[in-house]
């Protein structure tokens, strides 16, 4: 009888051990699976991840970044230096993507007025806007270094196509086709704007009905410097006509002089600290230094 009880107890203990073992195995399985994923070490370990692309982190743009929205599809583009080409009164600002991406963006403008804009790529897709369709584009005045900032605030260049970002221009006097090495006037305004005025848009004279003669110099932005003379060839008024008009009258201009005709009939106007005041409220002034030449006409 005692042996019988011992035998039964042994059988129960074995069954219990078996059951407990199976139960422990089931509980371990999730851990075992996680180990299975990580555990098989490759024969050649993968290198440590070092590129931003592989980490899906954008490479910092060392140019001029633009954010482009093509009908809800958002892309970023890193653009190079703003190039400038002049055709008549139309100035084309263009940026091309850096690093092989063939994206480009272009604005045609006359002074600060946007005439058209276009976004395109080597793939041939191109989006355009004209005149008032081109919303969100503003071309700023020259800063103290002569740089203009072009602001693109969800600039609309096509149906559901927008471009955002900021572009900077190179100062005109650093661009051979826009600079005037032999003449020109530096204009510095009291609100920290500076530019080199080059009269490549024309130079000449106008005669009023009262006989007043005015020399007019125009740059490729369509801005003019006017020097008005009285009947005795004395400077009566100097004016700068741009986005706003600044002017001074005789006795208030500082130094400005005009030469007698040279050998070929040309005349030189010299500005030396000539100071003009905004005509509307007098709150802004501009100081002119340099020379301009009126050709024989």
């Amino acid at each position: 009888m005692r042996w019988g009880v011992l035998l039964v107890g042994l059988v129960v203990a074995i069954v219990a051990w078996i059951l407990m073992r199976d139960s422990t195995t089931e509980l371990r399985q999730p851990a075992a699976r996680s180990v299975d994923v990580a555990a098989p070490a490759p024969a050649d370990p993968e290198p440590l991840v070092t590129s931003n692309a592989a980490l899906d982190i954008p490479t910092p743009c060392e140019g001029q970044p633009l954010e482009i929205d093509l009908g809800g599809q958002h892309t970023s583009a890193c653009m190079g230096t703003t190039s400038i080409v002049q055709n008549g009164s139309v100035r084309t600002y263009r940026v091309d993507a850096i690093g092989g991406a063939a994206r480009w963006f272009r604005i045609d403008a006359s002074g600060s007025k946007v005439l058209s804009a276009a976004l395109g790529s080597a793939a041939g897709d191109e989006f355009r806007c004209k005149g008032s369709q081109c919303k969100g584009i503003s071309i700023g005045r020259h800063d103290v270094q002569g740089v203009r900032t072009i602001s693109l605030e969800r600039a609309t260049v096509g149906e559901q196509v927008t471009v955002s970002g900021t572009l900077h221009t190179i100062p005109e006097d650093e661009i051979a086709s826009l600079a005037c090495p032999e003449q020109g006037v530096r204009i510095v305004t009291s609100d920290s704007s500076a530019q080199s005025f080059c009269p490549k848009g024309g130079a000449g004279f106008e005669v009023a009905n009262d006989g007043t003669r005015t020399f007019r110099f125009t740059n490729l932005d369509g801005e003019s410097i006017l020097v008005e003379l009285d009947g005795e060839e004395r400077v009566k008024r100097v004016a700068y006509e741009g986005d706003s008009t600044l002017a001074c009258k005789r006795g208030e201009c500082g130094r400005v002089a005009i030469s007698p005709p040279g050998g070929e009939g040309e005349r030189t106007v010299t500005f030396a600290g000539t100071t003009l005041l905004e005509t509307t409220n007098g709150e802004r002034n501009a100081v002119l230094n340099g020379t301009l030449v009126v050709p024989a006409l």
């Binding site: 024309g202 106008e206 009023a208 125009t218």
Partner: protein, 276 residues
């Protein structure tokens, strides 16, 4: 259009240069306001001496006084390819325009000879294109005039070939080699319309002068100077101040591709009558 390849034509043009003012002139011609826009003046092959249509003599400008004169670069792709001479005259005395408000807008260009950028590719002119060796050629000039499609304003056109040398530097004493071919109220030029055009080609806000100018023309006849091109209108706006203004895009030069050049349109500021 390529009709000036041969030496005989060159000789004819030389003769024209000598005797350009030989024929009796008819003076100003009035541009049409309806229908086909172009008036035929002296198309190629040029008739020498030229027909009298729109041909002026200096005496046709007597009584006019000079109110404004300017010289401006003609800039294409950032390159100066020539000079514009842009003037305003009015009927008047001394410095005062009279009450008729009769104004003349005058245009003349001289194409630049100085090679820049790529002298090895073409030593005859400043090259303006990175992909073409052609000198810039103007085939058509357009000036803003008063008037609208619905309400045209009468405009008269005329031209002077000039005097002196065809290679001179003085706009008042240099000679155009090629004649004005057509004039009319349109904003289309060579290879954009077929003379005399159709009513659909009309633009009553523009005066067009068809006059080839090229310092080194592939057709073999160079004409660095245009003719003096005049358009006359009544310009009553401006009160006691000037009745004209320096206006944006008031002039357009059109290279129409006469010898296969790129078609190119260049617009610039120029004088125009005030419109209000």
């Amino acid at each position: 259009m390529k009709t000036l390849h041969s030496l005989p034509y060159a000789l004819l043009l030389a003769a024209a240069a000598l005797f350009y003012n030989a024929p009796a002139h008819a003076g100003w011609c009035t541009l049409t306001d309806t229908g086909a826009p172009l008036t035929t003046v002296n198309p190629k092959p040029f008739t020498v001496p030229p027909p009298s249509t729109c041909l002026l003599a200096p005496s046709d400008l007597s009584g006019y006084i000079l109110k404004a004169s300017r010289q401006a670069n003609i800039t294409v792709s950032g390159v100066k390819v020539g000079d514009l001479y842009d003037r305003v005259y009015c009927l008047g005395t001394g410095t005062t325009c009279d009450a008729t408000n009769t104004y003349v807008i005058a245009t003349r260009v001289r194409m630049a000879a100085t090679p820049v950028n790529f002298p090895a590719r073409n030593p005859n002119c400043p090259l303006w294109s990175g992909t073409s060796n052609d000198c810039f050629e103007i085939n058509n000039f357009f000036r803003n005039i008063r008037g609208t499609a619905a309400t045209p304003v009468t405009a008269d056109a005329g031209y002077l070939m000039g005097s002196g040398s065809s290679t001179g530097t003085d706009p008042d004493n240099s000679l155009a080699v090629k004649y004005v071919e057509y004039v009319g109220k349109t904003y289309k030029g060579l290879n954009q319309l077929v003379p005399p055009g159709t009513a659909a080609d009309r633009d009553n806000t523009k005066a067009m002068f068809w006059n080839d100018v090229n310092i080194f023309d592939p057709d073999g006849t160079n004409s660095p100077w245009s003719a003096w091109l005049y358009v006359r209108q009544n310009c009553p706006f401006g009160g006691a101040s000037d009745h004209y203004t320096l206006a944006s895009f008031a002039i357009k030069y059109w290279q129409g591709g006469e010898e296969g050049q790129f078609q190119t349109n260049v617009q610039a500021s120029a004088y125009a009558c005030k419109t209000s």
